[in-house]
């Protein structure tokens, strides 16, 4: 699918979500947060996870909703995943959909029953391929200089959030570009992926600002 079609699909999805809100979808007063899922290979993932969890929690609280901290959803998820001994096949490595569904649905039910959550936000950081030309990479609302006149494809990081209601229907998704991971022959060292707090914060806003705006206007 072309990038243009992807953008149009995102736009259509956002409009559909806005339309549903305007038609009187239940307002979100309490939102549960999952721990941010990170790409493989980070030397020290915990501080990165804590950083994005707390940035997200702060921004959502600022929008006026009660936030169930990520430790709660994380603990429920872990307990349910343990109860099915993990949801990947040991033989093929593929996800066993029935087990995965059981963990997802069970976590959602428990977040609703115990914490009265109206919505569940699951954030992740992805490595995405980014095309750049004329020395500029543009992706997921972010941009970064790549060196004068250069063009090609480079890996980059994006924050991706997905929000579902308590019936499991996705009601929001958003993305924000964080940073490019290599420029020419120079690879950014792993311990520097998230060192630019301005870029981290910008990615957060790109990913959740339209959700926060919706939450603020909810009665």
């Amino acid at each position: 699918m072309s990038r243009c079609r992807v953008r149009l699909t995102c736009l259509a999805f956002t409009l559909a979500v806005a339309l549903a809100a305007a038609r009187g979808a239940a307002p979100i007063k309490t939102i549960a947060l999952s721990p941010t899922r990170l790409p493989d290979g980070l030397d020290n993932p915990e501080p990165v996870r804590d950083l994005f969890d707390s940035l997200l929690a702060g921004e959502l609280a600022h929008a006026g909703v009660t936030v169930i901290p990520s430790t709660e959803a994380g603990a429920i998820w872990k307990r349910l995943a343990d109860s099915v001994h993990g949801f990947y096949s040991a033989i093929t490595g593929e996800r066993v959909e029935a087990k995965y569904r059981a963990v997802m649905d069970g976590t959602r039910r428990e977040l609703a029953d115990r914490f009265h959550a109206d919505a569940w936000l699951r954030p992740r950081i992805e490595v995405v391929p980014v095309d750049f030309q004329d020395g500029k990479a543009r992706w997921d609302g972010a941009s970064e200089g790549m060196g004068r006149g250069s063009s090609g494809t480079a890996p980059a990081l994006s924050l991706v959030v997905s929000v579902s209601d308590m019936s499991g229907t996705e009601i929001y998704s958003g993305r924000g570009g964080i940073r490019v991971l290599s420029k020419g022959s120079k690879n950014i060292s792993r311990d520097k992926f998230f060192e630019d707090s301005k870029r981290n914060l910008q990615a957060l806003h790109l990913a959740i600002d339209s959700l926060a705006a919706r939450l603020r206007v909810s009665p």
């Binding site: 001994h85 949801f87 096949s89 033989i91 093929t92 490595g93």
Partner: protein
């Protein structure tokens, strides 16, 4: 000459004599097509036999592999879906041991077909020992309209042979055919079902990938 060739073919092999084979590993697009797999599996066995090896079938190695894999409950982490290398290595080395103990296999051959980028200049593409026309203008056409260069998707057969301790003894490669042709300024994919069906090209690729194997294994007796 003929008598000499026949004599060489029948002469007792030095070094590795019995070789186990795996079923060919195909690119994802072809993984569920039975014909290319059967075609290449049988060609490889027949070329190896022609070279004087005793061949242990892919069914035998697969059955040992599956038995060992299942006996340790698989080798993927059920929480992450990632391969647990220690478990995979245990299955791998266990299969090599069993192949040697039960069938006397001193080596194990793994063939796979992969997409590669084949470099072209004008109308000709040469890669991994074979040549094919790209569809781009060459010769007089190239002279008149400009010669194009680049790389075009192609299929090649790779082979790797390991000894019963898992040490690589041999690797070979043979180009099969182009997976796309150049039409005007763009690549047009050859329909997947039309690929890997040219008997002559398949045989040539298997020979390219395996013909220097006997010489390379002549002095190897395994650990």
């Amino acid at each position: 000459m003929l008598a000499l060739a026949a004599g060489l073919a029948l002469a007792p092999r030095q070094g590795v004599k019995t070789i186990a084979v795996s079923s060919i590993d195909l690119p994802r697009d072809f993984a569920n097509l039975p014909s290319p797999r059967a075609r290449f599996d049988s060609l490889i066995v027949s070329v190896l036999r022609g070279e004087g090896f005793t061949v242990v079938s892919a069914a035998a190695s697969e059955s040992i592999w599956v038995h060992l894999r299942d006996s340790m409950g698989g080798y993927y982490d059920t929480y992450t879906g990632k391969l647990v290398e220690a478990k995979w290595n245990a299955v791998h080395l266990g299969t090599l041991r069993e192949l040697r103990a039960r069938y006397g296999a001193e080596a194990w051959l793994h063939p796979d077909i992969e997409f590669v980028g084949a470099p072209f200049e004008g109308g000709k593409v040469k890669w991994h020992g074979v040549e094919q026309t790209s569809g781009a203008p060459g010769g007089v056409g190239g002279f008149l309209f400009g010669t194009k260069t680049g790389s075009v998707p192609a299929l090649s057969l790779f082979t790797m042979v390991e000894d019963s301790a898992g040490k690589e003894l041999y690797s070979g490669v043979g180009g099969i055919e182009l997976a796309a042709r150049i039409v005007g300024d763009r690549f047009v994919d050859v329909p997947r079902l039309a690929l890997l069906g040219d008997g002559g090209r398949n045989v040539a690729a298997v020979h390219l990938a395996l013909d220097s194997l006997p010489a390379r294994l002549a002095g190897k007796t395994g650990p």
